[in-house]
Each structure stands twice: as structure tokens, then as C-alpha cells.
Subunit: 343 residues, 2 copies
Amino acid sequence: MTSPVGLHRVLDPVGVLPQAAWRLDPYAPLGDDEVRIRVERLNLDAASFRQLSEKHGGDGAAVRAEVLEIIGDRGKMHNPVTGSGGMLIGVVDEVGPATPLPVKPGDRVATLVSLTLTPLVVEDGLAGWDGRGEQVPCTGHAILFARSVVAVLPEELDPRLSLAVLDVCGAPALTSRVVRGYRSPSVAVLGGAGKSGSLALAAARRAGAGRTVGVVPVPAERDRLAAAGLATEVVLADARDPVALAAAVTGALGGPADVTVVCVDVPGCEHGAILATADGGTVIFFSMATSFAAAALGAEGLAADVTMLVGNGYVPGHAELALDLVRQDTGVRALFEARVAAD
Amino acid sequence: MTSPVGLHRVLDPVGVLPQAAWRLDPYAPLGDDEVRIRVERLNLDAASFRQLSEKHGGDGAAVRAEVLEIIGDRGKMHNPVTGSGGMLIGVVDEVGPATPLPVKPGDRVATLVSLTLTPLVVEDGLAGWDGRGEQVPCTGHAILFARSVVAVLPEELDPRLSLAVLDVCGAPALTSRVVRGYRSPSVAVLGGAGKSGSLALAAARRAGAGRTVGVVPVPAERDRLAAAGLATEVVLADARDPVALAAAVTGALGGPADVTVVCVDVPGCEHGAILATADGGTVIFFSMATSFAAAALGAEGLAADVTMLVGNGYVPGHAELALDLVRQDTGVRALFEARVAAD
């Protein structure tokens, strides 16, 4: 019997879980509780794509070559610098007889576990990708374990739209849970015009938030987010500048935030988020660029009595909640459609 | 007026908070709201000391030279590899007229904010330290800001004992708060025989935990922790081996833990902690060796509905709680006295 968490596909170092492994085996025969997917598209994690793109100065061919090298070396798309991956969509190809996953051959699905633990083979050299966007057309195969999470894509939505939504569906689900733990809390979302940020704002409103503020770094994003109508206020600030950020949030909300959600995929936002949050409040870190030590020591150094959550990408019902928000909230939907069209 | 969070002492890069800075200025004249301490002893963060000691193969003179170089270069003891610092004790030397801190000249105090944000000058070349332990006798001065946290040391306790306790006093305070959020939860503490681990176990018991398990890596620690009587069960396991760790915890508690506290100062314990925790449970990461990405992606990859907390070193009342536990809990006291004597 194969391992429900995929231990049998770990090649190096042996004994760790697939996400911690340097290298996975994507070629072993399909286990009884595994599922094989024909891959159609990868969606790279925003922090990973940004790191690769900046490293290569925006040279798409070089980015593509490095992504191919990573997948070839590691048997998975696991950026060794950022530690992050992304997700994929494809069509179910073969289903082991003992799988607990609710899929059948022919289903178009998205994987909701990270690419950092998903065995993956690319067969087309990523020939259809110019290396300049997070969404990567791809022919190949991937393996799901018994304890993976997978969503069948809704037929009425563009698959690229669904993929973009599902990639960040943990953010609105956890934001919703945290907001419900307060009474009409004020909520600040750093990176409010982005994918996870806009969904977090929509989820906060639905969960009963009071005043909300979306913080964005450039006027174009401010205008887009204001037009979407997702936040009470939209303000411009550099989330890496703690003093400026705290002033912007406090000004917009009339005081520090009860709940601060960090959706900015650049390093150095921990201190600003803490400084912008009220005593007794909660900071949720969704950015993969978050530094654990900076958060822990920052709160201590500021004598800040805030609860700090590692943004868990899995919350039960997360895919359904996020897809529902995009179906029903025209502001979120417009932001996502514009982003997918531009990608 | 000087900044309550110390912005005026940041030399490079300008505009960030002191903890994020590469270099601080410990020489500027004392501000109206600042306090200067004559330093007597540094207590290096365990992860920092371990990294330095391993890098130099246990060569104490080389470790001492590198600590001196870090403090000289940065104006603070901020290990650039681990990102962590530690704390210090000393005697209050001068108090600015506008300080809100409850201290007066002559008070023997411990700083409860990290050394990573505390301006520091060493004047004796650390001549009294052999480079082989975390506690560093030291002559020099340090600066506290208005928003620092400082505790006057109890006269009836050995200052080295108080320092060792206060260094980790965030752990019992946050553990206590989380345990009170459940009804008689089962609690697992990884690294239960260490400083933060033993205090977390004692705090969990006082806060109403049900069954508890202390996980330790070697038989000597198992025997010490069992003798201290702090946990229902004490088990041997390598916290970096997720499958073995989960089996050990589940075996000891009769199921996964409701609350798992990570106090092991080595990298790679995130997945085991998540796998050992029940759905709906909470993992508190106190180790500075924690990887944010490994925790976030690990929980997602395991489809684990667990709340993951960044261990905030500041919780109101933390110093009082920790000192009280050491005064009243003979098991904790014995562990700390043995550790201080061996140091």
C-alpha cells in the first residue's frame, strides 16, 4: 500500500514528507490510492514567479529555462529560493481503485495542494509559455495522493479564472473565520487589489467586518480597487515602511485595525502589519515572503499584544467559499477577469 | 523628541524599525525617553548560539570573536544567519526624564525585548566568556526605548536563573492563553525538557490541560523531564521525523494533540508538529528555526485544519507568570537550576 501523504515518492532525503523533500519520483507506477492528472496549466505562486522574473531581469526565456530545470531536478515545481510552488489544472487521467478523492476520469480539476509536494513531469518543454506570466500552459502529468485536496472546476467559469481563484482560496476562508471571532472588527488588507487580497476583503465584508481598508502600492491599483467597491477606504502606502503603513491604516480606519491581513508578496511587511494592528487584534500572514523571525521578534520588540497566524492554505470549504465570492461579488469578479485577461 | 520605537538610532537602512536594521547607533546621547543600562550579562538565543557553535566546530574562541564582530558591526547582537538575538541583564545607569519605563538608577533589570533591536556596546572584549555557553558575562552599555519592555529582577532569585526564565517567558504565557481556549485539551510540547518547553508544560497544566506529553530527543532529557514530573507522559522522538513524531505523540495521548507547542531549536519540525495535531487544534511555533513557508505549505499539503501561531514573545503579564511558575513549581525550578549550574 502506498502512503496517503506520499512518503513512497520521496527520493531525497528519504523519510521526510514530500514538501520537505529535495526530490520526488513522478515516474513510479500509479498506486492504488493515487490519481494521475494530465496537466494543462500551472499557476506559479506569485512570490516564486516574482523572484524568478527579477533574478533574470524579466528575460522570459531564462525564466522558462529555470522553471524547466527546477522541475527536472526536483520532480516538482518547488522554487528553492522562495520555498513556494503554486498549483495546476488538468484532466483526470487515471484513478486508483482505493482513492478517497471525489474525482473520475475526464473531470477537469484543480489541485489545492501546493506544487511543492506534487510529483510533476513536463513533456513539452513549456513551449507554449513566454516566461512572462504566472500562468503556464503545460503538457505533462502530475500525481495526487490520498490525502491531497482537489476541486472539480465549475463548468460555467473560465478555467483560468477558476484556477486564479482556487490558488488563493485559503485566504478568504481563514479571513472569514478570524473576522467572525470579533464583533464588527475593522479590517486592513495589505495588497488589497491582488488575488488573495481582494478575496480577503470580500470575505471580510460577508463575515461581518465593520470598516475596511485596502492598502495598495500604486495609483493604478488604488483606482482599480476603489472601482471594485470592496473596501470602505482605499489608501496608497508602501507596506515595507512600518511607520508610513501604520499611519495610513490608522488614518483610514480611525485607529489601528482589529484584523490585518498581509497579502503582499514582497519581504519586509511584518513590522508594518504589527504596528498597524490594535492590541488584542490578529495579523494573518498569507504572503510566502513572510519571515517567521521578523514577525516573532517584531511583535516582541514593539510590545504588541497581537495574535499572529501563519496563513494555512487549507480550511474546510475553502474552494466553495472562494468560487461563490467570485460568482456573487461583481467587484471581485471584475478584478479577477481583468487580471486573467492581462496575464 | 526621540522615537518611542527607536527609529532615531537606525543608521542603515534609514526608516526601518531597529529590528529590521542592519546597523544601530549605540553611541548617541541618551534621549529624554530612553534608559541606559550597564550590562552585566548577555543571554544568547539558543538557535543563535547553536548556529555559531556548530559553524566553528565548538571552538569557543572563534565563537567569541564572531559575537564581538557582530556587535561591533551592527551595534546590536543580531545573528545575521538565524535572525535572532537573545536578551541581557544589567543595572540601570541613567533614566531619561520622560521615560514611561518603571525603573530607577540602581535597579537590576532584564530586558524583555530582543537583542536584535537593542543598541549595545561591549567594552571588555567579552574577556570573561569562554564562548561555550549561551550566558555571556559582559561589560558595556545598552539603550532601551520608551516602548521597550523591562523587568526588575526579583531579589530572592539567582539573577542567572531569572535571566534564563525571562528569556523564554513568552512561551508559558501564550501557551496558557491557548490552552484556556479549549476544554481540558491534550497538549504536546516538542522539546519539553528545555527552557521554554518545561515552562510551557507547567503553564499548560496550570491552565487546565488534560493529558500532556513532553517529547525529547535523547534518554538523558527523558529522564530529567520524567523526574521533574511536568508531563503525563515523556517520550523519545526526533521532532524532525514527521511520521515518527506523530506516532509518538498519538501513542502517548491516545490520539493527536489539541495543542502542540514547538520549542525545539532546530529546523525541520513544522511538518511533524502539524501531523501530530488534531483537526481543529492549534500549533504554537516558538522556535526561531521555524520556516514560515514550511509551516504554511505543510498544513495545506496535509489538508490539516489547524491554527498555526507565530510565537509572540510579548504577552501582557508574561514575566510575572514565568517567574511565578519557577517559584512555585518545584519541577520547573529543578530543571532550571540544573541548567544554570551546567552553563
